[in-house]
């Protein structure tokens, strides 16, 4: 695999990576929607879910896409046409760029950059602009309120998200996600290295904070004030129809997948499974699948919480972020830093 990649020219490698990126976003988003949103939730609520299209309704997703493509692309009369139309693409671009830093194996990566997590957090924050554009461009009160609520929430929870990552970065001594995977694969727990050292064991506080903040960043219940369907219809997405609504929808679930993948890389060892040599060529094929398995596991948690918890009020939501998660994350950084130097 290494020799194969080395023989290809730059544009060939780039095309392979673009195709791999598209597959990674669409396949993951599709799997999440089918397995979690359609089926798992249906079983939780004692119903079957989609059953007609294909075996166990597995082709329901294609039917949905066909339905969305047929729908008329409506722009409200008073809307700001360009801003309204561009907003879903800003959100989706931000998601695609997030994917770039994820490593799938020793050689199966898009870019291997020292900035890693920092780059991911930076491009992830750009999606807020798309949400504000959608909220304002729709010229609707529901959309504007939804956009404002979303922004307030995303700003508040970006801080604990970033701070939770710092503990991992201190322990791994690098921000490169590939380096973080290798640090976990080659790590030892008090001299016992059979399963490496997945950072969830030492950074469990960081993991908890990251998952909670991630849930808020995705505006999933219990943090779904911005899209609260009973008061704001669907917030900033209210006026969207057809393909553009589908783009927001894909963006939402693809972001859930990509953020879970970042969490898997940071805390669960990424593409590594214990018992094999991390430099093994096998990981270039096996790695993406292992990562995908961990993503499915983490998104299961996300959707489980989404369909079990009631919605937070705005003040409860802000209090949780600023008075609980941020101090806890700071304490975690201090403890990690002290232990890193002392041990």
């Amino acid at each position: 695999m290494i020799s194969l990649l080395a023989e290809l020219s730059y544009w060939q490698v780039t095309s392979i990576r673009v195709v791999a990126g598209l597959v990674a976003v669409l396949l993951v988003a599709g799997t999440l929607v089918y397995a979690h949103l359609f089926k798992m939730v249906s079983f939780m609520q004692s119903r079957l879910g989609p059953m007609e299209a294909g075996p166990y309704g597995s082709l329901q997703l294609l039917a949905e896409i066909g339905k969305f493509l047929q729908k008329e692309d409506i722009v409200p009369a008073r809307a700001d046409r360009f801003v309204f139309k561009a907003a879903p693409f800003v959100v989706l671009t931000s998601t695609f760029l997030l994917l770039v830093v994820l490593p799938g194996g020793p050689d199966a990566w898009f870019i291997s950059n020292d900035l890693g997590v920092y780059l991911a957090m930076a491009v992830g924050s750009v999606s807020v602009i798309g949400i504000l554009m959608a909220g304002w461009g729709s010229a609707s009160k529901y959309s504007l309120l939804g956009g404002l609520r979303a922004t307030g929430q995303l700003i508040a929870y970006e801080l604990p998200l970033l701070l939770a990552v710092v503990g991992v970065v201190i322990q791994a001594e690098t921000m490169n996600l590939q380096g973080i995977v290798l640090a976990q694969a080659e790590g030892e727990i008090f001299g016992w290295g059979a399963i490496g050292n997945p950072f969830i064991l030492t950074q469990f506080a960081g993991f908890g904070i990251f998952m909670i903040a991630m849930q808020a960043e995705l505006t999933q219940t219990p943090f779904d004030m911005p899209v609260a369907e009973s008061e704001l219809v669907t917030g900033y997405m209210t006026e969207y129809s057809g393909l553009r609504f589908l783009l927001f929808f894909i963006g939402e679930f693809a972001t859930a997948g990509v953020f879970s993948a970042i969490a898997a890389v940071l805390f669960l060892g990424g593409w590594y499974v214990p018992g094999l040599d991390p430099a093994d060529n096998l990981f270039n094929v096996l790695g993406p699948l292992v990562l995908f398995g961990k993503v499915v596991l983490l998104t299961f948690l996300v959707f489980w919480v989404r369909f079990t918890f009631p919605r937070f009020r705005e003040d409860q939501l802000q209090r949780l972020a600023w008075k609980f998660l941020v101090p806890l994350a700071l304490a975690n950084i201090v403890v990690t830093g002290v232990l890193k130097v002392a041990l």
Binding site: V83, Y118, M121, I129, L132, W136
Partner: protein, 179 residues
């Protein structure tokens, strides 16, 4: 070397980065157009969105210069935080659709003067310090090197800025509190 232009460098056989120069030109044009639209549009939200393009262009130029850390920080701080706060503030207060005639107007002359003055001062300063030197960037500036420099050579400046920011933060809280 006096002529740093494309043809001059190519003729002298210097280490010319063609792609970098072409993309510098493309991004610079986008930045200039966006900057002009940013100050001429009468819609406040549009102005903020044009500013996003200018700042993203600046980040792209930093990447062309090989300073990836500065580029990413530009995106995180300016686009991800400051512009978002701008838009948030605008939408909480006015957020009118369409053009707002109270924007711009009588302050244009003064703003133009300040802009020309700033351009002249910066132009003179740049030409004065870099007139004939050609800055060669052999390799990108690694993030590790940046953090090493910040926490060894520039530690005093870094700490001073940190304390200043903390003071500003506390000051903002004190000002915002009513009682």
């Amino acid at each position: 070397m006096t002529s740093v232009g494309l043809l001059g460098a190519a003729a002298s056989g210097g280490d010319l980065f063609v792609a970098q120069n072409v993309f510098f030109g493309v991004i610079a044009v986008v930045m200039i157009v966006s900057a002009i639209r940013c100050v001429t549009t009468r819609n406040v939200v549009h102005a903020a969105l044009w500013l996003v393009l200018v700042l993203a262009g600046a980040a792209a130029q930093f990447i062309l210069l090989g300073s990836e850390f500065v580029a990413v920080t530009q995106v995180l701080v300016y686009i991800g935080a400051i512009i978002v706060l701008f838009l948030f503030g605008i939408m909480l207060t006015t957020a009118s659709m369409g053009d707002d005639d109270s924007v711009g107007g009588e302050k244009r002359l003064m703003a133009g003067l300040v802009a020309v003055l700033l351009g002249v001062v910066m132009g003179i300063a740049l030409i004065d310090s870099y007139s004939d030197t050609r800055v060669v960037i052999d390799e990108p500036q690694r993030f590790g090197a940046v953090s090493d420099a910040i926490f060894s050579q520039y530690i005093v400046a870094f700490e001073a800025v940190s304390v200043l920011l903390l003071a500003a933060l506390i000051g903002a809280i004190v000002v915002a509190r009513k009682e």
